[in-house]
Subunit: 316 residues, 2 copies
Amino acid sequence: MEEPTIRDIREAAERIRSFIHRTPVLTCTALNDMCGAELFFKCENLQKVGAFKIRGATNAVFSLTDAEAANGVATHSSGNHAAALALAARLRGIKAYVVMPQNAPEIKRKAVEGYGGEITLCEPTLLAREEGLRAIVARSGAEVVHPYNDYRVIAGQGTAALELCEDIASLDVVIAPVGGGGLLSGTALTVAAVSPATRVIAAEPELADDAWRSLQAGRIIPLGHTETIADGLRTSLGDKTFPIIQKHVSQIVTVSEDEIIDATRKLWERMKLVVEPSGAVPLAAVLSGRLEVRGLRIGLILSGGNVDLDHLPWMR
Amino acid sequence: MEEPTIRDIREAAERIRSFIHRTPVLTCTALNDMCGAELFFKCENLQKVGAFKIRGATNAVFSLTDAEAANGVATHSSGNHAAALALAARLRGIKAYVVMPQNAPEIKRKAVEGYGGEITLCEPTLLAREEGLRAIVARSGAEVVHPYNDYRVIAGQGTAALELCEDIASLDVVIAPVGGGGLLSGTALTVAAVSPATRVIAAEPELADDAWRSLQAGRIIPLGHTETIADGLRTSLGDKTFPIIQKHVSQIVTVSEDEIIDATRKLWERMKLVVEPSGAVPLAAVLSGRLEVRGLRIGLILSGGNVDLDHLPWMR
């Protein structure tokens, strides 16, 4: 598959429609008043498996021919993609193999197992994860579905912005968080095609500012170890996501840990939405003052809502 | 005004439409699987001021003639109704006087002040609150809007169920929590008119089971002191809400504190919704096993989402 076109993204939307939620777009007068803009929140925290990840995983799994699907799918992930792929595979009736580091949180393992995924534990290094995945693929013949560096996944993630643009006309800006860039690149492709006057801006933690650095440098600068609270964004860009971002994203805004925690809490308190810190990063960018937002109509993608309810971000 | 008809409720819906959110109806496969029913959650926790209360307050305030409205509105309340009335009054450009006990939480006072309401503090007894309200009315000539024992308020609260029945056809059951009975009686009137085959069931904390006792006794039995975690339901029925409930509510299910806390947590964890314990009481009833739900299509009203995020229900 080539870089997705808007036609691919529309086909993805059709393909996954019956398996996912059409999530609501919500507004909040109090948050509008705080920044002087009109904010439209695309609530992917209310999506199945609690994150947009089910869109890309489902599109990838249902894009496979029967022959390709016969041996199942495989990935290495410690996050929401693993659960999403396990659910998508179950929906198609095929196996999902997930390589996970031994230190992955119990709750993430349970989510994958709950959807019938088969977990192989490995040492908590990227090398061990990749070797674990290679071994499974060699043994099973499963099709690898990367969490973000995969055009089928990128096209699937772009369907969230497609729905947002269908529901809300004349947005001046759409802001998405950036980790590996799957959501951001899908969003950028979609918005460039269906609403070319709308700017796409990325929001990123200062403690994981590899996308910002990569855009400055004009090449992918991998992310080193980081403990940002936005744990969904602790990943480097891929060679498929980076060129799309270079071409279609107009700006990257970085935000501090305190700004992320504050934005997360505001979403819980004012909008009554459980959003994970990674999903609050776009609002943090809007509230940071680092972006000219006054008078604008701004779409924000609340990417996910998977948090440990016994350890809230503001209770650390 | 007489007991509201469905026409009054439809008029209320028109009257308040531009001031409130049309809240989404959300579903959750995981919760469906737990009880073997199809659950449809009407998300009034995502409503303005974080609760359905804005519906009744706005209907009452905008039902007033200009002459009636000229001197403002007044109520005594320590809860969501006070904030809702203050916001509704501000929307109409009139004053709102709120009598509140001295021990009301800071956060509730700030909410009322934030909407421009004028607070008078009093001793934390019902007698002191009623006397405080009488004094304000005598001085200002304000129109009293009771939190629930008021037909304009009841008609307004009924609009949540109207939207639910418009969005989801063929519900077998609608479950609402019951405190003073404003939401429940409005729901019951609406459902009886627009979907007569649908049963309306109330859910109530065991520690505040005055509605259950009242229905058994055939007369209003006031609620004594209670510390139920469902703090929105610590009120007795009124002489306007009770007869409607007697006539149109088929059953009341009581639930334990542990069941309420467990249901609250499930709504946060599985649906990513911040719901206050009072709003989780209907789900607690469904999950309790005390109700035959298997195979049914059930609407549940998530009544509100105002909780102290520093002291979560499961952290007490």
